[in-house]
Amino acid sequence: MSMRFDASRRASLQMLLAMGALRPALAAASAEPAAAPVLKVVATFSILADMVREVGGPAVEVSALVGPNADAHVYEPTPADVRRVARADLVVANGLRFEGWIDRLIASSGYRGKVVVASAGIVPLQLGGGADPHAWQSMVNGQRYAQTLRGALLAAAPQRSAEINAQAAGYLARMAALEQDTRSRIAALPESRRRVITSHDAFGYFAAAYGVRFIAPRGWTTGSEPSAETVARIVRQARETQASALLVENISDPRLIERIAREAHLKVGGQLYSDALSAPGTAADTYIHLFEHNVRTLVEAMTPAGNEHTH
Amino acid sequence: MNALLAPSAAVAVPPAAPLISVEDLTVSYRQHPAVHHVTCLFEPGSLTAVVGPNGAGKSSLLDALSGRVKPSTGRVQLGGLPRQGLGYLPQQSGIDRSFPLGVLDVVMLGAWPQLGWLRGATPAQRDAALGALAAVGLAGFESRLISELSVGQFQRVLFARVLMQNAPVILLDEPFNAIDTRTTADLMRLVQHWHTEGRTVIAVLHDLAQVREHFPHTLLLARECVAHGPTAEALAPQHLRRAQQMAEQWDENADWCAASAARSS
């Protein structure tokens, strides 16, 4: 992996290296260490941005193109975004065709630096006709993402390797613990309970990794009044698959959800986050929080009523 | 059309009609009087026509007599007669003739004080209603809808309702308005029958020839009482002239009546 800096940066780096040689001498004269430059990273969406922040720590200054609660599929770059990419030291993308607009954006910005593909090396699952890009829904993949990012940051800012390695190590440890915990909690539920009906289609990796079955409600229309046939279909589907819970979101009438849940003996679950973080200070404002929230919501939904206990 | 039959014996004899006393009666709308300080007496069993120019307050007098309207001054004494002792024939204009009701239902309303809200009609009451219909020449019409009737036929139905009410005092508000002569003649016979039964009948009318022919007493009203007494005297030319002179329009510049302040009750 070669890096290319523009001329001015190369010059300043050479100056720094030169100064590094004088350091011991300077250290005698002044007690302050030299300030290392911060790496400007642009991540394509909020989840990646959060991971880069965690892995890079103070060594990086990260911004996301698609912010919290925003939809990467309908994103349209603004001129400010184009400028940010142009001035970035590093661009991080998910890959697996999650960002259909990234190639054009890079081209138009004139950015000639490295584009890190966070999902590199991961064998994708299928979704519809192509690859399922939501690889981060499995914490094992999350750890792979973190490792890939660490490698990229180290290559881009080797002088800060100590910090980066320390940050990454801590982050990876937390992720490993979360992975363990998730596995054990879900395994504690009998397989017959691990079925939920949800209109989210982004949980393929979660399903595969932890043994939860996500069932898409057939023929569900969003927004206004559903027909009796639609409701009947979902109830029948729930009965046939013996699903435990219903986590459908864009329904305007909560009473209808309640009715369906009663009829089909489903628990009504909370909200799941899939493609973006939520606003800072809310339940899913970091990747770790997002994952914890989803696991908590799913486990509670799948736990039989009366058996709930706080975690 | 059947000949007029006498009402059946199933109708009970009414209680004796009382003396009706009107004392200093004023009925006003928007501070203009329709009836202005009228005082008169209606003897029990009398048959009186109330006549006068348009706007003379004739209907308002009936309204005050029946208690539909509150007087501004004075009062009406009915000698202890209960509300249901007053039979009332309204003008058709206040009634929704297209309403989906049957003829018999409307006639049965006359027995409202006995039926109330919930009670069903007894066979005797039903017979009385059929008899009333026969008396007004509408035998066989009981299952028709009122929306299918002509104006004359509907007027007969209203008369039949009054018959059902079997009241000692009967008020008729323009009973022969826009009715054909045949119906008018039939119904006039009914009115006279009431008179022979001893009921007090007070009728607002326009046709002076009819009044002269059938009504022994007349009250000539032109907001104030112009004349009241036997018809021939009350309808003397000088009285008629005085009544005509009364302005039909309300006078916006008329002085406030001093008597109203002093005697309002």
């Binding site: 046939e229 009438d253 009829e263 | 309204p90 206040g94």
Partner: protein
């Protein structure tokens, strides 16, 4: 598909279909007579007016208690009662006609509601909370509707006579000294109760639709008040049952399906009814009796 599978089986298999059917039947039975009387009193557009009259009450409740379904429903009901009561009173005591006074008061209420909401600075669609859908009828709503229907039918049976007379010849009752006014007031309260209950459980379209369409269609089949009411109730119940089946078999949204079916009954009645329909008029032109 057998007839049983077509007409009965969906209700056997699914609880939500059964509940929806019960709600339609209950509402249809009480709305039949009430709708008939509304049509006779020329108050046919009042249903929609009342739907809007709910707003200031719901808005005030929102301001005071936040997003609470019960507070807002009660607030809406009180506001609707106030509008109906004031309109009725004004029509009684002044020469103003009832449809005009209704229009005046519901518009005042609507404007007041919008003002309260905008002063609060929130653009949240409050009314959504107050209006349900027939497929989502839960136990509480079902009890509410069944209760309202029972009470309405009972009260109507008792005040039927004075109510009808009050419509037909208002002077008559007045002359007898009976206060026809408060019977009419009672009728207005029943109207608001049925409408608000209907809104809560079934939504505005369905509640007003089931109240007015069968009543207007009945005109072409029946001649007297009581038979009009009975035909209206029957048409309402059939529309509910048929509409639910349409929603089930043809994948149509439930509320509109039921109301459209009621509307089709209306058009059919208009064209082919046994009394004064276009077909009946055609026929009566051609032949007549001798006397």
């Amino acid at each position: 598909m057998t007839l049983h599978e077509l007409l009965i089986q969906p209700f056997v298999e699914f609880g939500f279909m059964r509940r929806a059917l019960v709600a339609c039947v209950a509402l249809g039975l009480s709305c039949g007579p009430i709708g008939t009387l509304l049509v006779l009193r020329r108050m046919s557009l009042v249903g929609d007016a009342i739907a809007h009259a709910l707003l200031p009450g719901a808005a005030l409740a929102f301001v005071m208690f936040g997003y609470s379904l019960w507070a807002m429903s009660v607030g809406g009901f009180v506001a609707a009662v106030a509008v109906a009561g004031l309109a009725g009173l004004v029509a009684r005591l002044t020469p103003q006609r009832e449809d005009a006074s209704f229009a005046a008061f519901y518009l005042i209420a609507l404007a007041g509601g919008v003002m309260i909401i905008s002063m609060r600075g929130s653009s949240v669609d409050l009314m959504r909370v107050l209006f349900g859908t027939v497929l989502a009828v839960d136990d509480a709503s079902l009890l509410l509707i069944a209760g309202i229907a029972s009470v309405s039918l009972l009260v109507l049976a008792v005040v039927y006579r004075p109510l009808v007379v009050e419509c037909f010849d208002p002077g008559f009752l007045r002359h007898l000294g009976h206060a026809g006014a408060w019977v009419h007031g009672l009728f207005l309260m029943l109207l608001v109760l049925n409408l608000v209950g209907g809104f809560q459980a079934l939504g505005t379209l369905m509640a007003v639709g089931l109240m007015m369409l069968p009543a207007t269609a009945a005109r072409f089949w029946a001649a007297e008040v009581w038979s009009l009411a009975a035909v209206a109730a029957l048409i309402a119940v059939l529309s509910g049952w048929g509409g639910l089946l349409l929603s089930y078999h043809a994948n149509l949204p439930s509320g509109p399906a039921i109301v459209m079916l009621a509307g089709s009954f209306y058009v059919l009645s208009l064209l082919l009814g046994s009394r004064d329909s276009l077909l009946a008029r055609q026929r009566s032109q051609r032949t007549h009796r001798k006397a």
